[in-house]
Symmetry: C2
Subunit: 621 residues, 2 copies
């Protein structure tokens, strides 16, 4: 490259960077809020990326060869949106709708914008998601795209990032590049490590990454670092860039007290004058991907679900594993991951049969959910499993996945006190509440292996956050493999025109309800029994009919805390209906369990057949 | 030390270690389940700790000078219980009740046992809690106790551990010693790093720790490492011990397929024969603390709560900060922590006034909750704050804190769509559901600054997991500073004998309900308005009276998803009562919000005064 070419290149980088800074200021001033200074620190990093390293077709965001860019420091959205404007993807007019009602340019990016893969704004999530996207590129689609993630320095404190550092080096994701915008200042003062960029790099290296420390305002250093990253063949690269918050404006640069503050009109004018941009609304075309290789086509087969013999015994967690295996055979887009308990969740069946499509996450549930989100960005159908109790570890990731409009499937095994001896730390007693309170979620809790297998198969075709709760213990197979079950449905197990009350159960407690039915029958009391395997959406119609036909008396029984689970889902169904409310009695776990045999703990929790019988008698007395 | 002394010391270590191994096997065989091999790998580490370094008075577990030991790898509970037996704290008979119904020796340790500080079993939690306990010793109580944490190697994948590594080095916790029992084998095969002990050590060093690699079966190396750790003055120490799972028994040692499996009677006999213990049920007294310094006494003052003028405007998050400041003045045991947003949560008022009792956690919410749990182990009264949305990051820690019977206070600010421009990633819309579904929790959601301040003060005196949800926006002060509010109570804002329906609201929506009341009055419709500021426990009595007196028609309105929040809490109250169910209509956030002005988003969500008016009209038509 001649000196003139070099100069011209630096001039281009400068032009774009200054335009990004000016636009970040303009957009936030127009909004009256937002994060201009956190945008300005990374403007040089983004300018060099956009002009010289990033390959993306803005007209075709689904192009499988597109690079991916994740703004993990989502509060720097003005920078991202300014990049979209510079790339010609949005107009200046739209840029100035930032943070306004009805605009897709929200305070933090979401996939309402077609070029945004996932929502960010809860810190420490961009890199774990990037790991999933990069793994698809390297191992499944075998496409040469790169995944660039821009992180803030503050967010390196989030443990989830270190789960990502761990897993990315394990999977040798050389197509993953993390850039830390080390601007020293967090929301309320200096970060713990300040400008100790070498400390960040050492941490990266200790986790098996290539790490490069640069001056984040030196274009040549940035350009070289990106080139080095691209040339690294065996590991991901961390670029630690020393930057200044508010860079380019004297009264903002490296000053405390400017986090998340927009400039007023006068300050805006002064700042823009200082930035003295050569260009103001120039379009800087982004290179399209050089490669036009298609993503591999998935050749689908009809699914052959496992079949369990009526009246045999099987655990629904085993049915999950068997059905996942069947899905794996039927659809090459199905991928699975597990948090180092695949021999308990039975995801190991899939892992053995389709090792290329199984990604061990080790004991890192946040990373596991993020990985699932990353794979569905690339069109895969992810199933992620661990003990239901440990899904709580990833709740923020599940929440954000819903904001990302992600389609992921989660399987939580070992639910409730019925796991027995392992004790309360391993018992999910809040997972139904937690998963119901996710936007657009589906919550399933099968009682039988044939039912579980059918529901798992349907999860593959369904959108949103799908959750299935499975049971550790083997339970009787009460349905034929030819029975059909569907999301949003329920099954009336016992029904007559003499029903005096209805018991609504799901999963393990359905078997207690069946036992209670038999005991009550002997005493001349007839009840209706409903298997509410679809906890969300719940089958309102069947519940309403039961209330009407069976004396307006309902008992719900669940292996879960009383709050937010099956009982409240049933109450919720009636509150939304234009019908009289029945009397509802909830049986749920009311005291802290310890260890013991499953039957002992079910009895102690007050959710046994015996307790149901008692409750029915009181209700119908 | 003479050679004879040395030999005798090694013999003692060996005797104890072999007894611990034998007892770990015996207890799990008696239980028919459990983790003998994960116990055996760490037996030598624990033997040297117990005999030569640990200072603890088993007769006085509250002795402030006691060292603390946390078994982060909680599944190795047989080892812990065998240590208790060896120390003479429990009998052999009790040891053999492991995992049985009614025994305090649960599958994973809980504080039902007086020598257990916190429940473990959800991996990656012991070290973050240890950080909190160590910080109290170093900075608050200024006592020379040490905090020893035994981790499994698998659990190093949990990001929460790296939050702890980060924070412990920041606070220079030289009284904290983490020991990784690097036995190479996880639940379903080899760990990612296997026996690469140096890799663990490098990670520790990169995070600012002193790190020592040893052979975990070499007594002298173990002893030296503990001594070095004790002598380190400026940083915590990580000891990475290369060990063998199942050490000491040929058919278990370093073998796959033995995780979480008890031996049968025949295998037990063979194993014990191989271990050939010199002693079987010997008591090995543990040294009591040398120091008998008392913990500092907290000199309490009466609290002077902030007072807000009626009809002024203030945000409840500000009232939280003001009340926390007042608590700080009143009670030196009150400590506070925040996730790097203290200028938003207003915890910064406390931080400025009482810097010694404020612990910045940076952006690491799991560590923050664990830190709170650690401080209450030492009798402190912790308040931890961040945005309510980010409490979801720590849900597993909150769940485990409940199992630990911990008394912690959490404040989640910026709840709901009413935060406005920042968008959905920053809006808590599931926190009420999540926090209600925690055993023994209290969930508060004040609508006014005077009310908020009173509730914050009461949180200090209350046990269990306490959660307060606060609002970003300033809202009208509708109560006098002399009004009283209490946990479990509610406030009837409007009431008459002509009430046609009742609106139950809390927090920001109460102000919408008040507006709706006024509009409906003008149209000749009178409603009752209830401020349900105590969402859990909810004031059943007032709700039941309202249903009875106001036409059996209730509308709930909440800035939260429809599931698990205020509406379901109200439904739950009726389901538990022996009274007819009223008709309940729930107004809640039904679609994914974006950015906008608070009023625009409240309107869009369908929870505005306008929506309440409409719902009342339909209901009373």
């Amino acid at each position: 490259m001649t000196t003139a070419e070099k100069t011209s290149r630096v001039q281009q980088w400068t032009n774009l960077a200054q335009q990004l800074r000016v636009d970040s200021i303009r957009a936030t001033t127009a909004a009256g809020s937002g994060h201009p200074t956190s945008s300005m620190s990374a403007a040089d990093l983004m300018s060099v990326l956009m002009l010289s390293h990033f390959h993306y077709d803005f007209d075709d965001p689904k192009n499988p060869n597109n690079d991916h860019f994740i703004l993990s420091k989502g509060h720097a959205s003005p920078l991202l949106y300014s990049m979209y404007k510079a790339a010609g993807a949005i107009t200046d007019e739209e840029l100035l709708t930032l943070r306004k009602f009805g605009s897709r340019l929200a305070g933090h990016p979401t996939p309402e914008i077609p070029w945004v893969d996932v929502a960010t704004g809860s810190l420490g999530q961009g890199l774990p998601v990037g790991v999933g996207i990069a793994a698809v590129g390297k191992y499944l689609d075998k496409l040469p795209y790169k995944v660039w993630v821009l992180l803030g320095d503050s967010e390196s404190a989030e443990g989830s990032n270190w789960e990502a550092f761990h897993l990315a080096s394990h999977y040798k994701l050389n197509n993953l590049i993390a850039i830390i915008d080390c601007n020293r200042l967090g929301q309320r003062g200096e970060t713990e490590l300040g400008w100790n960029t070498e400390a960040y790099a050492e941490r990266g290296r200790a986790f098996g990454w290539n790490a490069i420390v640069i001056d984040g305002h030196n274009y040549e250093e940035i350009d070289n670092a990106y080139r080095q990253a691209a040339e690294t063949a065996d590991r991901p690269t961390l670029i630690v860039a020393k930057t200044m918050k508010g860079k380019g404006v004297s009264f903002l640069e490296n000053k405390e007290g400017w986090h998340g503050k927009a400039l007023d009109a006068e300050q805006e004018e002064k700042a823009i004058a200082e930035l003295n941009p050569q260009v103001r609304s120039m379009v800087f075309p982004v290179q399209k991907p050089a490669n036009d290789k298609p993503a591999p086509e998935a050749a689908k087969q009809p699914i052959k679900l496992p079949r369990y013999e009526l009246n045999s015994k099987e655990a629904t967690r085993k049915a999950y594993g068997d059905a996942l295996l069947a899905l794996g055979a039927a659809n090459p887009d199905v991928v699975a991951m597990d948090g180092e308990v695949s021999n308990s969740t039975y995801a190991n069946e899939f892992a053995k049969a389709y090792p290329d499509r199984f990604f061990e996450q080790y004991i890192a549930e946040q990373q596991m959910v993020a990985f699932a989100v990353g794979t569905q960005v690339r069109g895969k159908i992810p199933f992620a499993s661990t003990f239901a109790a440990f899904m709580s570890r990833a709740y923020d990731f599940i929440r954000m996945a819903a904001i990302s409009r992600a389609n992921i499937r989660l399987s939580g095994s070992h639910a409730g006190v019925s796991i027995g001896e392992d004790g309360p730390s391993q018992m999910a007693l809040e997972d139904l509440a937690m998963m119901r309170a996710v936007f657009g979620s589906t919550v399933l809790y099968p009682s039988d292996a044939n039912q579980a297998a059918q529901l798992v198969a349907q999860m593959a075709d369904h959108g949103g956050i799908m959750y299935i709760r499975t049971t550790r213990e083997k339970t009787p197979v009460i349905y034929s493999p030819d029975d059909t079950f569907s999301i949003g449905g329920s099954r009336v197990v016992y029904q007559s025109d003499k029903d005096q009350a209805t018991v609504v159960a799901a999963g393990i407690t359905l078997h207690e309800a069946i036992q209670a039915y038999k005991e009550l029958q002997e005493e001349g009391i007839t009840i209706r029994v409903i298997d509410a395997y679809s906890v969300k959406p719940i089958d309102d119609e069947t519940l309403l009919a039961a209330a009407q036909e069976a004396g307006g008396k309902i008992i719900t029984v669940e292996d879960h805390w009383p709050e937010g689970g099956l009982g409240e889902a049933v109450l919720e169904a009636f509150s939304q209906a234009d019908a009289p409310m029945p009397q509802v009695v909830k049986l749920a776990v009311q005291s802290m369990p310890s260890s013991g045999k499953p039957a002992e703990l079910i009895e102690e929790a007050g959710i046994s057949a015996h307790d149901i019988v008692q409750a029915v008698k009181v209700l119908v007395k």
